[in-house]
């Protein structure tokens, strides 16, 4: 299982704080995005934003980074206001 968590504005946009996914068939962060994007238009739009940030086990990584069972994968948006 892979634990996927969402932070900040993503939670409201997806109406979801966290979920778990079966790890087989998921080998990269991009695979997770692809699988979740199939859920709805809202998920598709939110997760395919070019500026979406991702982290695996609290290390920031790009979308090609590998994932495996037991990983915690986090998604969150950049914040730019002030």
């Amino acid at each position: 299982m892979i634990n996927v968590v969402f932070f900040a504005a993503l939670r409201e946009q997806l109406d979801c704080d966290s979920l778990t996914l079966e790890s087989h068939e998921l080998s990269t962060v991009a695979d997770i995005i692809k699988q979740l994007s199939a859920r709805s238009e809202q998920w598709q739009q939110t997760l395919n934003n070019a500026s979406l940030l991702s982290a695996v086990n609290h290390d920031m990584v790009d979308k090609s980074h590998p994932v495996k069972a037991g990983d915690e994968v986090a998604f969150f948006p950049p914040v730019t206001g002030g």
């Binding site: 939670r11 920031m60 950049p78 914040v79 730019t80 002030g82």
Partner: protein, 249 residues
């Protein structure tokens, strides 16, 4: 040397081993540039002047609007339409006569950065848009000036520290590679609540004081506040070897 009056006034800081009299002197001798005197720049400048930082340059080209007042705590109704930097400088100078405050009534551009950055020890990015964030990041890398970044919208905030003097320190561009689809979300489009700014600007001011007093400051660390769940998360980041801004150093 600190005067007797300064020793009394700053005694709660001086008594801490990690600050001490040498730290308080370092604060007095420090020059800090605060870019943006909105929701973050207001508390950041207040706490740095209060702590005894000797010189603050505060830059903002915007004028005060009524919708700023619920979070920009230096300003009142009767300051509406004044320039933010000038108004803040006036109030801070009156409240903290030990600190020299210079207002720059313009959003910084590259030319102003080339003028001011060589004079300052550290820059706080308290701006409200990603273009300015990229600009000040590039200027700080070029001048090897530490940059303490803060950002906030809605119930969310982020803070990271960039130290170009440290060859392993990632920069803002490593974290957020410039894309054509830069996020348009800001306080005008998705709102903001004041206490988030107090928490993020507080972390910026804390990092600034630690840096100026020769304490360890954490780089390569993105601190994220999710205010609705009351949770801070910390993510590690790495300098990108191919970063167009800091990669070739």
């Amino acid at each position: 040397m600190l005067t007797t009056q300064e020793q009394l006034k700053y005694s709660r800081q001086i008594m801490m081993k990690k600050i001490g009299e040498s730290g308080q002197l370092a604060l007095r001798n420090a020059k800090v540039l605060i870019l943006g005197v909105g929701g973050l720049g207001n508390p950041a400048s207040l706490y740095l002047a209060a702590a005894g930082v000797g010189t603050l340059y505060i830059a903002d080209g915007d004028t005060i609007e009524p919708s700023n007042l619920p979070r920009q705590i230096l300003f009142s109704e009767n300051n509406v339409e004044e320039n933010k930097a000038e108004c803040a400088a006036e109030k801070l100078s009156e409240q903290y006569p030990d600190t020299i405050i210079e207002a720059i009534d313009d959003m910084l551009d590259e030319e102003l950065c080339d003028y001011y950055l060589p004079m300052v020890d550290v820059v706080l990015d308290c701006s409200d848009n990603i273009q300015t964030r990229y600009m000040i990041n590039q200027a700080c890398i070029q001048h090897k000036t530490p940059l303490i970044v803060g950002a906030a919208t809605g119930f969310d905030g982020q803070q990271l520290t960039i130290d170009p003097r440290d060859e392993h320190s990632a920069c803002y561009q490593c974290l957020f590679p410039a894309s054509e689809k830069a996020p348009a979300n800001n306080c005008q489009t998705i709102g903001i609540i004041g206490p988030i700014l107090a928490m993020i600007a507080g972390m910026q001011a804390l990092q600034t004081i630690k840096l100026l007093t020769n304490n360890k400051v954490q780089v390569n660390q993105l601190n994220m506040l999710d205010g609705l769940s009351n949770q801070w998360q910390q993510f590690s980041m790495k300098k990108q070897a191919n970063c167009p801004v800091c990669g070739s150093r």
